[in-house]
Symmetry: C2
Subunit: 467 residues, 2 copies
């Protein structure tokens, strides 16, 4: 990345007070690249570098910084500089900054804002967290159906300068009800005298401001459009949501899903910005719950202690067998959860998935069962280990142990596969997030049942000793 | 979804030969919605419904279908209809269809194409699989720096009709070298007499056609632009890549990462379109490898069989202890792999991550160790189980077992956390994909070492019996 190469140099320029040079070096970069350089600088150098930027680029660069970097910057600026910055920001970036900033900071900032922007910001913050309303910007342009293409273009020239995008314009009636949309492409290609109502398209795909922002991700991916309109209950246009903000949301949602699937609570911040205590809390909670669940294995094994005492060799294969159940469950749950997340699998398909996973689990179980069978026979044949079972006067062939292990593997893998694939459906049925079914959770659930399958099989085949 | 509601109705209209009605019902929908309806119909009804669509919408709808649905449709059309369809498609959609279609099909299709399109398609297919070159479209518009805004707009009206997007135009010199870009927004807002070189911006962020398509995902997310230019080695403009195609790639890449992290080979197709045998193969391969690795636990436990024979109660906590290592490793690896994927963590940060995870792993280990300690004491106190160790004439207090289990947990959780967080860095170091470090793989690696930690601790605290 550019920032990695330039940051030491720019840092040195600032340290040596060669500020004009530092400014020139930064102005050669794009906004996001400047933000990367700032992020890498020490906090006091960062504040100096930021003040070197022209006022009109500060807001854009600021929006690319992480929340904690933004807050330290704000503290290093005079209130006049802060006021300029806050008023210059795009409204969606401002809302995003406000929603995570501590209240003692935002209270002061609100006073520095123009009354109109204060009103809009407070309004946006009234939408629920993670809603479309918090993501949208009001910098859009509308046109009226009765206008000609020429009139619409004139209107754009007059009103479009601050709009976040002009790729798509919205057609509204006198009460601001959204009726159609008009691509700038079509407007530009049209004859100047053509009327907008002939050029516009519909019906419009729109979002409701109160909806979860995940809806924006789904719609934008589905309809391949770079911007979506946001309306209220009465279909009045409130704002727009652009593809770049939605892409950020999509990335965050995937990160959250992955973290849940990895067996922890989702961090709400980047890994390196999360404090150690927070990191411990979000992992410790799930880890303890899994631990409590896994304690059942100790309890269950307590019941089988007499069997282990008689045939200790059974204990040797315990980790192998239960981990196979966990692994096959992890595969199945990952597949199903992801297919649900991208909308490929819906609840009504559970039966077809069950049959597929039944077959697949059986095949996988047979595969591992055969490998297990081969492993025990090979070790015995090569004389690496003696799996013959001796207890008192009774001697059992190692074949019986091999069959016990092998059949247990078939059962445990099949069970793990079915649990891993069906639990996400169960969560969906109860309108819970399927991603909560983490690989570790499936493993824990399968471990207890897995050892019951194992010892039950052992009781069956080794009853001459265990019975 | 709309398709769920309408498909039965449209299917019935087709079955009853009310074709005009079926056509009208479909034409009320957007292209992607029509594709959804087609996907849900039976193959023969699908072909009928497809032929009902106006020629100019068929190509768009076709592009939204899955590969297998596309192929069955092609087979149901006359070669004239196929020729019309293939020639009408956007070039990036066509390349995508060709790259996955069987050769006997594509050979026939190439003959039906216009010579120019045949040449372009074959050229695109010469780029490596999953490269930017296969993703790009050549439907873009360039402008020359010396033109006025008015001239540029006239040029758009003449040449822009078939362009995939006009949001961004590219400024090239006489040899087609890419020098700047020009947003349509600025062009529209400018005075007609203003020259393009005054309006355009630079430097241009561009992709090389031979690069991996993941580069497109990274750049587009970073620079928040809806379209990226693609150039050759000599910086000559070859095509453009649009945000919607990149969003599809991003979704696929995340799916692949998740599947790898779930402990399997990535499916290259949607779950339901993947055949049972393929599903078994991609899961069975990793499952067997993990199984072979996990076999080491049986070997390691073989060495500890005398200890288990003397103190069988040790076996009861085996699953609890090793699973805790696996779970903490799964958490750590998920966090690190994802932070690497979104570019937050680079190789040089490994030291800071190591220290964080060392602290976090220690805290988590202490947490589980304390819970484990409490568990054994509680059961003993309530008389639910007697953990007193008796062997021959020696009796050891249950306190010693509790300490053994508890300290082992601290060690195993710390070890799992460090393995889970450091292995992704190790893979990065060797330029391998960190996502290959799946939760099951970490668990397997930690299991063997985990039980060695456990039995070593036991030998230390229970040496009166085991020594």
């Amino acid at each position: 990345m550019v920032a990695d190469l330039l940051t030491p140099e720019i840092g040195e320029m600032i340290a040596q007070k060669r500020l004009a040079e530092a400014r020139a070096a930064m102005l050669d970069l794009q906004d996001v690249e400047i933000a990367d350089v700032l992020a890498e600088l020490e906090p006091d150098q960062r504040a100096v570098a930021f003040r070197l930027l022209p006022v009109d680029r500060r807001a854009e660069v600021f929006a690319y910084l992480e929340q904690d970097e933004q807050e330290t910057l704000i503290e290093a600026l005079t209130s006049e500089q802060v006021a300029m910055l806050i008023n210059e920001m795009d409204d969606d970036d401002r809302v995003q900054f406000f929603e995570d900033a501590p209240e003692e900071l935002t209270a002061g900032l609100l006073k520095l804002m123009s009354p109109e922007q204060r009103r809009l910001t407070q309004q946006a913050l009234q939408y629920p967290e993670e809603s479309v309303g918090r993501l949208m910007t009001r910098s859009y342009v509308t046109v009226r159906p009765e206008w000609t293409a020429g009139q619409a273009l004139d209107h754009l020239r007059a009103e479009g300068r601050d709009a976040e995008t002009l790729s798509v314009l919205y057609v509204v009636d006198a009460e601001n009800h959204l009726t159609h949309y008009l691509r700038l492409k079509r407007l530009v290609l049209a004859a100047p005298g053509e009327r907008c109502e002939k050029l516009c398209e519909g019906p419009v795909v729109s979002l409701n401001a109160a909806e979860d922002r995940e809806a924006a991700v789904r719609l934008l991916e589905r309809y391949d459009i770079p911007v979506l309109p946001v309306v209220d209950e009465a279909n009045r246009l409130l704002g727009i949501v652009t593809f770049d903000d939605v892409a950020d949301v999509a990335e965050e949602e995937v990160t959250e899903d992955m973290q849940k699937m990895g067996g922890m609570e989702a961090l709400d911040m980047p890994y390196m910005s999360t404090g150690l205590w927070e990191l411990f809390r979000k992992r410790g909670l799930w880890l303890s719950m899994l631990f409590l669940g896994e304690m059942l294995t100790a309890t269950a094994l307590g019941y089988f202690q007499p069997e282990i005492e008689k045939v200790t060799v059974l204990a040797l294969f315990l980790p192998l067998i239960i981990s196979s159940g966990g692994n096959s469950g992890s595969q199945a749950s990952t597949l199903i959860i992801r297919a649900m997340a991208i909308g490929e699998l819906t609840l009504k398909l559970w039966g077809r998935v069950f049959l597929r996973e039944l077959m697949c689990g059986l095949l996988l179980g047979l595969l591992l069962g055969l490998i297990g069978l081969a492993r025990i026979h090979l070790w015995q044949y090569l004389g690496w280990y003696d799996y013959t079972i001796r207890h008192g006067d009774t001697t059992l062939s190692y074949h019986l142990l091999a069959i016990t292990v092998s059949l247990s593997l078939v059962g445990v893998v099949l069970w793990g596969t079915l649990m891993g694939s069906m639990l996400p459906f169960l969560l969906r049925l109860f309108r819970l997030d399927p991603a909560t079914i983490s690989a570790p959770l499936v493993a824990t659930l399968v471990d207890v049942t897995g050892l019951i399958i194992y010892f039950t099989t052992a009781l069956l085949f080794l009853h001459a000793v265990l019975g």
